[in-house]
């Protein structure tokens, strides 16, 4: 965001080199804008920061009034408790299998579908696209019983595949790739076609690499959705050995007596892989500078 502002505001100040006064007033404007963007970003982070700091408070301090942002007594007892009470390794492994498999499948399927919607014209494609959009329009819970029957008949009940398969096709992912590919110049694929490349080769070697930023975005979010999925794994999984992290995490939550500090700490631990993934993928989104490979 800040780099974007820097990019757009750099131009004029470079242009007006001989008019010093105008230049300084402009850089002052830039400073004010950048400062307020930073303030906004901090305000936006505030709830997440509180969440993090609260996990270091002892249970007695969490809801004591008046509220404090920083813990009076720093403690990691919540973390120790959560770690000991919990077979993290097993649940993390299960969740990782589900999240990674679903993410790879989702990105590939969405990219192929979105590419077809963006670059091919056929009278029924538009209606097919509306059909895919419709799948987002029913509340998920309404479709669940029917999805469950399908999973049951396929014999996938109580298996990780039963969580992976229904989540592969997402309208959001298809839509993301469709909109992105519609901004990629069609000349690229035409040039490749003239050079004798097949449709699959065009997709895999030219179009898919160009869509790296959107693939990374979808990968991050697909991983995030599957990592935090709760209801569907709860319904499909029966054997505690197959539980995903979120399903297992809820076992911390008692009906009336909630151990908040353990819950907060366990939640923070379960967020760590998400943060690592984001850091790993963010260069793909922020540094990729491809300009579509065309000189225009």
């Amino acid at each position: 965001m800040s780099s974007f502002i820097a990019r757009t505001s750099r131009g004029p100040s470079e242009q007006v080199t001989n008019r010093r006064s105008r230049r300084t007033s402009r850089s002052r404007v830039t400073a004010v804008v950048t400062g307020s963007v930073w303030l906004l970003a901090l305000a936006w982070m505030f709830p997440a920061l509180w969440f993090l700091l609260s996990s270091f408070k002892p249970g007695s301090e969490l809801f004591s009034y008046p509220l404090t942002l920083f813990p009076k007594h720093w403690t990691v007892s919540g973390y120790v408790d959560a770690w000991q009470r919990f077979d993290f390794a097993r649940y993390v492994l299960n969740t990782t299998v589900v999240a990674v498999a679903t993410t790879i499948l989702t990105v590939v399927v969405s990219a192929a579908t979105g590419y077809a919607f963006a670059k091919f014209t056929n009278w029924w494609l538009r209606w097919f696209f509306v059909g895919i959009l419709i799948t987002t329009m029913l509340p998920t819970e309404v479709i669940m019983p029917s999805t469950f029957r399908v999973i049951l008949s396929l014999g996938l009940y109580n298996s990780l595949a039963g969580i992976i398969l229904p989540s592969v096709m997402t309208a959001t992912g298809t839509f993301m790739f469709r909109q992105y590919f519609s901004t990629v110049p069609t000349e690229l694929s035409e040039a490749a076609r003239i050079d004798g490349a097949g449709e699959f080769k065009i997709f895999w070697q030219i179009m898919f690499p160009l869509a790296r930023p959107i693939a990374a975005t979808l990968a991050i979010f697909s991983f995030h959705w599957r990592w935090n999925d709760y209801i569907w794994p709860l319904i499909v999984l029966n054997d505690p050995k197959n539980y995903t992290l979120q399903v297992a995490l809820r076992s911390i939550v008692g009906a009336d007596n909630i151990n908040w500090s353990v819950l907060l700490s366990a939640s923070i631990i379960s967020l760590v892989p998400m943060v690592v993934l984001f850091i790993a993928f963010s260069p793909q989104i922020m540094n990729a500078n491809m300009n579509s490979g065309l000189k225009d």
Partner: protein, 220 residues
């Protein structure tokens, strides 16, 4: 205490623990699925502890605390129907910002640098470059964000349920709250399914209108 209202989500959580729910599901078998879904929906308000939106409520509590310090009457976030709707709106924007921002960032990278360079040579200001280059070229992404967000907002459930359950009373019920209420609390499952289908048709109309507008601007 009013802050307490925001700080005691226990009232929301009379549901069973996940293990109990799963064990029940095991005992009752898949035929009892609607009941199992109802139970897990009660649990779903829990997702909010994970999405730190609950902390937004804490922030609301802090605002009240600060107001009381300077001698102003606390804001009734939960009992004023307009304010509680505003809380939902702010929380929804807060929660969806990251996703939409990443979409726009990816799309911004795809705009050829040369456009900006040409505009700079022509002496266009930063704002002018944004309005005349970035924004029009981001149109496919903006279209998608508007369409997906409006569909998502129309069927928002977990967030509303966790923040105030469509309250106070039923003043801020969204369609899905109504469906949940009739289907699972009044046990009129058929009626609720019909209502869901109506919701789908409404969303379809909204989507078709947006697709039409998008296509029109594409040609013009």
């Amino acid at each position: 205490m009013d802050h307490g209202a925001t700080l005691s989500p226990e009232t929301e959580l009379e549901g069973l623990t996940s293990q109990e729910a799963a064990l029940r599901l095991k005992a009752e078998g898949p035929n009892e699925l609607p009941a199992a879904i109802k139970r897990s929906l009660a649990q779903r308000s829990w997702d909010v502890i994970r999405e730190p939106m609950l902390l937004l409520l804490l922030v609301a509590g802090v605002v009240n605390f600060l107001l009381s310090k300077v001698g102003v009457a606390p804001v009734s976030w939960q009992t004023d129907s307009n304010l509680s709707l505003a809380t939902v709106v702010v929380a929804a924007v807060w929660g969806s910002l990251a996703f939409n921002m990443l979409l726009f960032m990816a799309a911004l990278r795809n705009i050829p640098r040369s456009y900006y360079e040409a505009a700079e040579i022509d002496g266009a200001s930063g704002w002018r470059q944004f309005w005349s280059i970035s924004l029009p070229l981001l149109r496919p992404t903006s279209f998608m964000v508007v369409l997906l967000s409006s569909i998502g907002a129309m069927k928002e459930f977990a967030l509303v349920q966790a923040l105030n359950g469509g309250g106070p009373g039923n003043t801020n019920y969204l369609m899905v709250q109504y469906i949940y209420h009739t289907g699972f609390e009044l046990n009129k499952v058929g009626y609720a399914s019909a209502a869901s289908f109506i919701l789908m048709l409404m969303l379809l109309v909204i989507a078709l209108i947006q697709v039409r507008i998008d296509r029109r601007t594409e040609l013009g």
